[in-house]
């Protein structure tokens, strides 16, 4: 589970995020909404241990991630968190399979081909394993990005504006994919978006 208390973060003096209290149960699916600049992305980065908040307490699965130092927080992130970014940022010169293998390598997880194939198959892109990202359609690239985020079996799946540049049908499909994957992997899903089309799919909403 995730527990946040008195969280505050400043970027060079200006308030970027303020959140008094928030709790999310393990396996729940959350939508974080709010206007641009309200700190949605910052919250995700804090939950992932990419940013150390200037104040407050953050506990993710009973780990006080603010107290993790140096490499420990990176190792924790590699083992526990999967992140899907708005701009998918697949590594251009690596094949789809190697993009997933990169995730295994960097998380120091065993480099098992079976895990990669399984993750790709769950998202319906197993046949694209040998392709380069630029040979794929936008939708396929997003599936690969989601597969890369979940290949190490994270307990927490974060998605930052996963539907921002998609049409209605594609946006619905993307959200469904995330939900399905999170459910299958029993992962907690937190999606940050300003896209109101996504709202209907989530029962838990955090308004920033």
């Amino acid at each position: 589970m995730i527990a946040v208390r008195n969280l505050a973060h400043h970027y060079e003096g200006s308030q970027a995020l303020s959140l008094a209290q928030w709790e999310a149960a393990a396996g729940s699916r959350w939508l974080v909404i709010g206007p641009s600049g309200c700190g949605k992305t910052t919250l995700l980065h804090i939950l992932a241990g990419l940013v150390r908040p200037t104040g407050g307490e953050v506990s993710v699965f009973h780990t006080d991630i603010c107290s993790l130092k140096g490499k420990a927080v990176d190792a924790w992130r590699g083992a526990n968190v999967g992140i899907v970014l708005q701009a998918l940022h697949l590594v251009a010169h690596l094949s789809v399979r190697d993009n997933l293998r990169l995730a295994q390598y960097l998380a120091r997880a065993p480099q098992r081909d079976a895990d990669i194939t399984e993750a790709l198959a769950a998202l319906g892109v197993a046949d694209k394993a040998a392709r380069r990202p630029h040979e794929l359609s936008q939708g396929e690239q997003q599936r690969v990005a989601i597969a890369r985020a979940v290949v190490n079996g994270p307990k927490l799946l974060l998605a930052d504006e996963p539907t921002a540049s998609l049409d209605d049908a594609a946006a619905a499909r993307a959200v469904k994919l995330l939900m399905t994957v999170a459910e299958r992997r029993k992962a907690t899903l937190v999606v940050a978006t300003h896209d109101s089309r996504v709202k209907q799919h989530f029962s838990n909403t955090l308004q920033l």
Partner: protein
């Protein structure tokens, strides 16, 4: 996937910049290796040829020419000196060995050297076939001479006046090959050995029919070209050269001094090449630096994504460092191959010129240092890009797009 394959992948993704860096590294390392091989082998070979020879006595002229012609058989002789000098030197108690040589003729570009058995013995030569020359007009071929002319024991040939091998032939007088030497690694490999008497005979025959009186006059007039001298005591070094040089017809040259002088002259060229190689290595380092540094901009998302996948800043630092090192190692190995290839090509060319043989298949311990220097260049060049990668602000980079 590992650090090496990941960094190699990034290098392959920028083929032009990678190729440029590799080329500069390979040229720099290759030049150094070529110099090491060629200079090392020639110095070694020249040292071996001059081993045990403390002084060369010959006709007046340039002392360097005397050494080059008397020991290395690479220049024209300075002239001849009276035979009596040999007996005089052999009686001198400061002298352990005095080996007279009669030069002046050649065969197919190889020099015919009139000398006693003590000359091949001095170099520890061994026969691979036949025997050493005993009678007049018998000849023994050095290893390379036999190998390249295809002439063996029992073959006959006529020498030509002059060392180039294109002078007037001594047609009437033919040598018979009675022996072939094993490869010796010294100047002997490129020589045709015969007795001093044979050389005299060939030249006396040239004068045409002679009566007994003429013949006697000629015999009194017999000369040798150089005398290779080995000292009996260190005292000789202080006394002999001055003694000999004071005689109007003679000069003494010290191989150690003259070869050192030669290397000082040639050394300027070698130093210039070395400096050139250093500049190439520097340019290579700069190229590696620029390649990695400029790529950082387009790679910042990759680096940020790697952080989200669990990489610590130290691993990004290591990745960039590994790219510099992989590049440097590949460049250094290419350079080694290039250096050995160049030395081989140069060796083939020198061999065709019947000059000092140089091999590209010899390895020297110093080559390890060339690799080490290249790795050092790669390391230094990638430090700043690696530091930038280490400092990647993931959150801010991702927030930008």
């Amino acid at each position: 996937m590992n650090l090496a394959s990941l960094s190699a992948g990034y290098l392959r993704a920028r083929p032009l910049q990678t190729a440029l860096s590799l080329l500069l590294l390979a040229l720099g390392a290759g030049t150094i290796v070529t110099l090491l091989l060629v200079v090392g082998q020639i110095e070694g070979r020249m040292g071996r040829d001059a081993r045990g020879i403390d002084l060369v006595v010959g006709a007046k002229g340039s002392p360097m020419q005397l050494i080059l012609s008397g020991i290395y058989h690479a220049d024209a002789p300075t002239g001849n000196i009276p035979l009596a000098t040999v007996q005089l030197l052999q009686k001198n108690r400061l002298i352990k060995k005095a080996i007279p040589l009669a030069l002046g003729d050649g065969w197919k570009g190889y020099r015919i050297v009139g000398a006693g058995k003590e000359y091949p013995e001095h170099y520890g030569a061994k026969l691979s076939a036949g025997r050493l020359h005993e009678k007049s007009m018998e000849a023994v071929l050095g290893y390379e001479v036999a190998a390249r002319t295809g002439v063996g024991v029992g073959g006959r040939f006529t020498g030509a006046h002059g060392i180039g091998g294109d002078g007037a032939e001594h047609g009437a007088m033919a040598y018979t090959v009675v022996g072939v030497l094993k490869q010796n690694g010294s100047v002997l490999d490129r020589l045709v050995l015969t007795s001093i008497e044979s050389v005299w005979q060939v030249h006396e025959e040239e004068q045409g029919p002679q009566d007994a009186q003429d013949r006697k006059a000629m015999e009194e007039d017999r000369q040798v070209t150089v005398i290779l001298v080995q000292y009996a005591s260190p005292l000789a070094a202080a006394m002999l050269p001055r003694q000999i040089n004071s005689q109007s017809e003679l000069q003494a040259g010290s191989p150690a001094y003259e070869t050192a002088r030669l290397f000082r002259i040639v050394g300027v060229g070698v130093e210039a090449l070395r400096a050139f190689a250093a500049v190439l290595m520097l340019a290579a380092g700069l190229s590696v630096f620029i390649a990695l540094y400029t790529a950082l901009e387009e790679r910042r998302y990759d680096l940020a994504v790697m952080r989200t996948l669990g990489a610590s800043p130290a691993r990004l630092f290591g990745l960039l460092l590994a790219e510099g090192l992989v590049l440097a190692l590949a460049g250094a190995l290419l350079g080694l191959a290039l250096g050995h290839g160049l030395a081989m090509a140069l060796g083939a060319w020198l061999e065709a010129q019947q000059q000092y043989p140089v091999s590209g298949l010899v390895f020297r311990a110093e080559e390890i240092w060339v690799v080490a220097v290249a790795l050092g260049v790669g390391l230094v060049a990638s430090l700043v890009p690696a530091w930038r990668a280490y400092r990647t602000d993931v959150s801010r980079t991702l927030a930008q797009g």
